[in-house]
């Protein structure tokens, strides 16, 4: 593990404990750990997620992301393979999306 990743705490599922400790450098390393190399398109999603968190206190849903950015669902799955909602939240240093009950 890198020094940077070691310097912060994650929960059992790998989400950053304190979203305030997030930095762009950290995002790159979390992404790398998940096997993702960040591109400009990833950053569109990450920045949007961070902003949503700042105003609403939680990670945005997929529907919210695709409605309010120019990234559509298909592309999201390409950028964050598997579970884009969860992965994007992870890389953006946010808690696991509650989304559904």
């Amino acid at each position: 593990m890198s020094k940077l990743l070691d310097s912060v705490k994650f929960d059992a599922d790998g989400y950053l404990d304190d979203p305030n400790q997030w930095t762009e450098e950290l995002a790159k390393e979390i992404a790398a750990r998940e096997g993702i190399t960040l591109s400009d398109r990833h950053w569109v999603v990450i920045n949007y997620a961070r902003n949503e968190w700042k105003t609403k206190g939680e990670a945005p849903t997929l529907r919210n992301i695709t409605k309010n950015t120019d990234v559509d669902t298909k592309e999201l799955y390409g950028l964050f393979p598997g579970g884009p909602g969860k992965l994007a939240a992870k890389v953006a240093g946010l808690h696991k999306p509650t989304g559904c009950i």
């Binding site: 849903t61 919210n64 989304g99 559904c100």
Partner: protein, 410 residues
């Protein structure tokens, strides 16, 4: 005279109108209830209709029968809500109502149009929903002549109302096809956008185990992108494809269009609501009950009932200028039919996930939690009687509103 306006006369709106009629001074308050539909449906019954376990006429009553005598019922669609002006415009005769207090109880319904190809040529041919009266009745006709093949149950997107209903449908389908002696000719596949059978870890494990035991294949993390009704195939965003002979779809659930039109909703037209007080996050004289709100509790009739206790207290407090109580704890109490005359019960809230143990109830209980039993199945069947005779009439239920840890094993 002041006006208390209730939008939507389903489970929550009807229940609250009855409670308000008892609590508010009739000299001071006029209660108005608006709904676009004359018929009150017992929605939990939609689960049983496809299999012929309930007949369509078992789940319908007229809405007017439940309207308190001192309230006015208006049959109309709602055109626009203007909460900044305390004003609601109804579609019928463009009637405008000026209100002092507003309760939003417009619920949620399915939107097959949100998924490409779902609402197309196959809809109600070999693609059915069971979340509407029409859908469940049409599916029962289809199933009665079904001779076998692959049945795919698909949950399109979360959140959905009664999140356990698709699982119950799968369990009952297994039971139904066994009863008809054609289970060996039917393949059952459960596809869900969740990573497991359910949203909460312990229940998910237990319910996932049940699916497996019943020979129902689960396809998790399946986010449906579109349906090809010509080829009878559903596709996921990550490139999986599954063919079907019968597709049982739980389409995207959304709040009423009028909520969106009026700028009162989130991306799915759910109204941002304080999850402890049930007051609108934006307008202090707007309250929200049931499926219409965005609170992170299950969208279920039992939940609307627990919410009504917090709401009636807070509405009264607010009218009298007192501070609100943060008493709603996200309590969900839900029977899950598992087939063969058995059922499960889960009981949880915002903080505590469903746990095993027993659920103490005077006279009828105890029910076993997270474990199949015959008593739980009776509980589910009794819910219909309780619904019509106690719940929608706003009468007290023999169940505490706040969740209790008594009997639960952490």
């Amino acid at each position: 005279m002041k006006t208390f306006l209730v939008l939507g006369a389903g489970t929550g709106g009807t229940m609250m109108a009855n409670k308000l009629a008892k609590r508010l001074d009739p000299q001071e308050w006029k209660i108005i209830l608006v709904d676009k539909d004359e018929t009150h449906y017992y929605q939990p019954g939609f689960l049983f209709i496809p299999f012929g376990f309930y007949k369509p006429e078992d789940v319908v009553k007229t809405k007017k029968a439940f309207v308190p005598s001192n309230a006015e019922f208006i049959l109309s669609d709602i055109e626009l809500i203007e909460p900044d002006a305390n004003k609601v415009t109804l579609t019928s005769a463009k009637r405008v109502i000026q209100y002092d207090q507003l309760l939003v109880a417009t619920g949620t319904d399915i939107r097959p149009g949100e998924i490409e190809g779902l609402a197309g040529a196959g809809w109600h041919q070999n693609i059915f929903d069971f979340y509407t009266y029409a859908g469940s009745v049409a599916l029962s006709k289809f199933l009665s002549t079904f001779r076998g093949g692959r049945v795919v149950i698909n949950v399109a997107e979360m959140p959905i109302k009664c999140p356990v209903a698709p699982l119950e449908f799968s369990f009952l389908a297994d039971y139904y096809f066994q009863q008809r002696g054609i289970r060996n000719k039917v393949e059952l596949i459960y596809t869900t956008p969740l990573s497991g059978a359910f949203t909460k870890p312990k229940a998910s494990e237990m319910l996932g185990g049940l699916l497996e035991k019943k020979g129902i294949h689960i396809e998790p993390d399946f986010a449906i992108s579109d349906v090809d009704a010509g080829k009878n195939v559903i596709y996921s965003y990550d490139g999986r494809e599954i063919s079907y002979d019968l597709l049982v779809s739980i389409p995207t659930n959304m709040g009423a269009d009028v909520i969106g039109r009026s700028g009162m909703g989130d991306d799915l037209n759910f109204v941002p609501t304080n999850k402890y007080t049930l007051q609108s996050q934006k307008w202090p004289n707007v309250w929200v009950i049931g499926d219409a709100s965005n609170v992170p509790a299950s969208k279920a009739g039992a939940v609307a009932h627990f919410e009504s206790d917090t709401l009636i207290e807070n509405i009264e407090r607010s009218i009298h200028g007192q501070a609100l109580q943060e008493t709603f704890d996200g309590h969900v109490n839900c029977y899950i039919e598992t087939g063969f005359g058995k059922g499960l019960l889960i009981d949880f809230n915002y903080e505590t996930e469903p746990l095993p143990g027993t659920y103490p109830l005077p006279v009828v209980g105890p029910f076993s939690l997270l474990k199949e039993s015959t008593v739980n199945h009776w509980g589910k069947l009794a819910f219909k009687w309780i619904y019509w005779n106690i719940l929608v009439k706003g009468l007290p239920m023999p169940v505490p509103s706040r969740m209790s840890m008594v009997g639960k094993r952490a």
